[in-house]
Symmetry: C2
Subunit: 229 residues, 2 copies
DNA sequence: TCAAAAGTGTTTGCAATACACCCATGC
DNA sequence: GCATGGGTGTATTGCAAACACTTTTGA
């Protein structure tokens, strides 16, 4: 191709809805915008695509540039094209959702942002542009995916308890789950390895910790599964 | 907005994978290209978006312009952005899938096409550009959708037999279904109205015809359902 | 009378659901 | 010793799956 490699595509942007799981809550990553439009306001991390990259690559780059997160689960969600969605000129945006384990990835402001933060998914957010719509559609897609792909696991630390895992599923699906049935089901998938580690320093019986069987995990991720709870 | 209304967005196109059901086969609509690139070759109907329209609107317009079909079921599938997917310059394309009842909609060439035809989904097609990839991903999405949305019905004539409906599902899912179980399940959804009409002129027992209960249909389409067969 | 598709119920097994009590730990 | 969450098993139900013969019609 004959394009300058660092040149942006002026009418095409990528916006990312980054989900994380912290303090037993599903959270979304927001960045404080350094430039106009909406300078100083909290928004979804986004940016323009370059002529030299695919949109998947753009999403990876933008996440790294805005929030310093790398090497995470990414999936395209939808392309938004309302004529007035961006001020003054026509910009179409492709939305991605991403899953991050906040313990593994340190979040910090990148070149185009002055600040980053996690925000509880349950609390109302006053989004600029059409980011409310984008956020909702990403959440909807996450809820669908989690039912037949084991992607929830991207959000947890290496060692975790079954209660943590259950709590994650409850946050994503927005509904309580039965403890015994959940355990039966999740252990039946044979993708967890029981460890000899236990929770420490809690004022109740310590929970046993588990990790993923990464081979079984990869297989299941490809095959898909049916998680009906 | 201040754009000329009929001006195209040169780096953004829409491609449509139009499915139809005819002669008990699932078919895809192809058009013969009138212009370069790939002039004279069969491809998916597509075209550039305009500054004055959303992508959904572009898909509607393009389907009408290329193939004379209107008022059909449309859903966005995915955005394709490989750098070399289009020759000579960077063009990103947004794929849609559409469902058409060939009996209701007469297909004929539009301004940008010299010919149109239906092509059996099972037969290999030699697609230009990345249309093979686009087609595959649309078919995958159709297979998913049909399991929890009653969209299959968009493809049938007003009056139809249960065998036709079953055959449609078999074509989409690519697997045979049990007749008795299929009927039990589909009648259990209570969205079909039994008519007093029967098939005519067939050399075997005439099949009873049904139509959709459009109210129940609308409700189910919104709620989603679980079609496991 | 033959060919070809329509139509029709029952049984079986599995998986989802509902449900309640004891255990270990820190304070 | 008490508050807190961890951990465990069974009974019931509903749904998916498997399966074969009779009916109707035109040729």
């Amino acid at each position: 191709m004959s394009h300058d490699t660092k040149q942006i595509i002026k009418n095409l942007s990528v916006d990312c809805v980054v989900f994380g799981f912290e303090n037993n809550n599903l959270e979304v990553l927001l960045i404080k915008r350094k430039r106009n439009p909406e300078k100083g306001n909290w928004a979804l991390p986004g940016g323009f695509a370059l002529h030299s990259e695919t949109l998947d690559q753009a999403a990876v780059r933008i996440l790294e540039e805005t929030s310093n997160v790398k090497n995470i689960y990414l999936e395209q969600v939808h392309t938004f094209s309302e004529i007035d969605r961006f001020p003054n000129r026509r910009v179409i945006t492709v939305a991605y959702f991403a899953l991050v384990n906040p313990e593994k990835h340190s979040i910090k402001p990148g070149i185009d942002t002055t600040d980053v933060k996690w925000h509880n998914v349950k609390d109302k957010i006053d989004f600029p542009f059409d980011h409310q719509k984008i956020f909702k559609s990403a959440l909807r897609q996450l809820r669908q995916r989690v039912r037949y792909k084991p992607i929830g696991f991207e959000l947890l630390p290496k060692k975790f308890s079954l209660s943590q895992l259950q709590s994650l599923y409850e946050c994503i699906l927005g509904q309580p789950l039965d403890k015994r049935n959940f355990r039966k089901k999740i252990l039946g998938l044979k993708m967890l390895i029981q460890l000899d580690d236990y929770q420490k320093g809690v004022a109740h019986r310590a929970a046993r910790l588990y990790k993923f069987d990464s081979k079984a995990y990869t297989v299941l991720k490809k095959q898909g599964f049916n998680f009906q709870l």
